[in-house]
């Protein structure tokens, strides 16, 4: 659906901007652009960030797989490469604690006037440039695609809903205990 719209370059740039504005608005209203909220999440004192993320994942999952079922959209799952993800994920985590923002919330924090987020953004640009230089030497090792599958249902050879429905159930049980006990 909307194939013609997908090809309109200027309209797409405008859509990217608009979706970003809503995204940034939501992140700020959720407290996710606030350094203290993020660090308190990492120190396990405040679970706001996890609640936002998991709720977004669950909501997104239901809609995305329904839209895919009715052939309205294409999915874009990420390739799986164990070494790069493990190493990169941990390096990201260490940086996350030092900075207190991630690439999305850092941009949002800059919008609320946080100067330290601007320095974090300069760092992110530097880190990306360092990566761009070493990329040729790791593209066939750390980022070598190891498997044919990308998603959990593909890897297990099952219907996506056989995994989505249990995930929703676990989520609802967690929310119930988190909010009512």
């Amino acid at each position: 659906m909307f194939k013609k719209l997908h090809e309109k370059k200027k309209a797409q740039l405008l859509l990217g901007l608009l979706i970003g504005i809503f995204f940034g608005f939501l992140l700020q209203k959720g407290g996710a652009t606030n350094y203290n909220v993020i660090i308190n999440q990492l120190l396990l004192r405040d679970f706001t960030i996890i609640k936002i993320m998991i709720t977004a994942v669950i909501t997104g999952m239901i809609g995305a797989y329904l839209l895919k079922k009715f052939k309205k959209i294409k999915l874009h799952p990420k390739p799986f490469y164990l070494k790069g993800i493990v190493l990169g994920g941990l390096i990201f985590g260490v940086g996350f604690a030092f900075l207190g923002y991630c690439p999305g919330t850092g941009a949002g924090a800059l919008g609320t006037g946080s100067i330290d987020a601007l320095f974090g953004i300069i760092g992110m640009i530097l880190g990306s440039l360092i990566f761009s230089r070493i990329y040729p030497s790791i593209s066939q090792t750390l980022q070598k695609k190891e498997k044919e599958w990308e998603t959990i249902p593909q890897a297990l050879g099952i219907n996506p809903w056989a995994i989505i429905l249990p995930i929703i159930t676990i989520y609802l049980v967690f929310v119930y205990f988190f909010e009512f006990f």
């Binding site: 209203k29 994920g89 940086g95 991630c102 949002g108 946080s114 330290d116 320095f119 640009i125």
Partner: protein, 174 residues
């Protein structure tokens, strides 16, 4: 319209809103929301400005061409949207050292900004090595049930939790 001026919304409501945005971007733009490639492209654009077209030969810039694209505009949008939300609730404030940092490490501006640059550099490098950040892997990849994204999401937080407890409770508690 009072709700637009509130300082915070329920995290569940915000999460549902972000989930719905993910449907809209898949539907209208054939894209999954993500932020970290915008920083590669910005870096490429700056380097191209400083060093000329020779940087086009770098393999990674053939994969992520240094130009303004959908995701780059998304990140600009985040800055605007967050600014708007903060302005409506009276939370826009120029701040260099956040509260928890100053309570733990004091009011040395240089120390805070250096740690922000170091943290940012690790995030920029790590997100490109892992193939995404807390948005691209953590939200978009996970909602599409990518195996790698669930792994990345867990590791972002495992690395973040261990490091921040070491920094704030062990080192900061001395």
């Amino acid at each position: 319209m009072n709700w637009l001026f509130l300082k915070t919304w329920s995290p569940y409501l915000v999460g549902i809103g972000i989930g719905i945005l993910s449907w809209i971007s898949l539907l209208l733009s054939n894209k999954a929301i993500g932020c970290s490639t915008a920083y590669v492209r910005t870096g490429g654009m700056i380097e191209k400005f400083l060093r000329g077209k020779q940087i086009k030969e770098r393999k990674y810039f053939q994969k992520f061409e240094p130009k303004i694209d959908w995701e780059w505009m998304l990140v600009i949008g985040i800055i605007i949207g967050s600014s708007l939300s903060a302005a409506l609730s009276g939370q826009f404030e120029i701040e260099i050292i956040p509260a928890i940092w100053s309570q733990t490490f004091g009011n040395n501006i240089f120390l805070r900004l250096i740690s922000a640059i170091i943290g940012g550099t690790l995030i920029g490098f790590g997100s490109r090595l892992a193939g995404g950040c807390t948005s691209g892997h953590g939200i978009s990849g996970s909602l599409q049930l990518s195996v790698g994204s669930w792994l990345a999401l867990a590791l972002f937080f495992i690395g973040g939790i261990i490091t921040s407890i070491s920094l704030f409770q062990l080192l900061g508690g001395l």
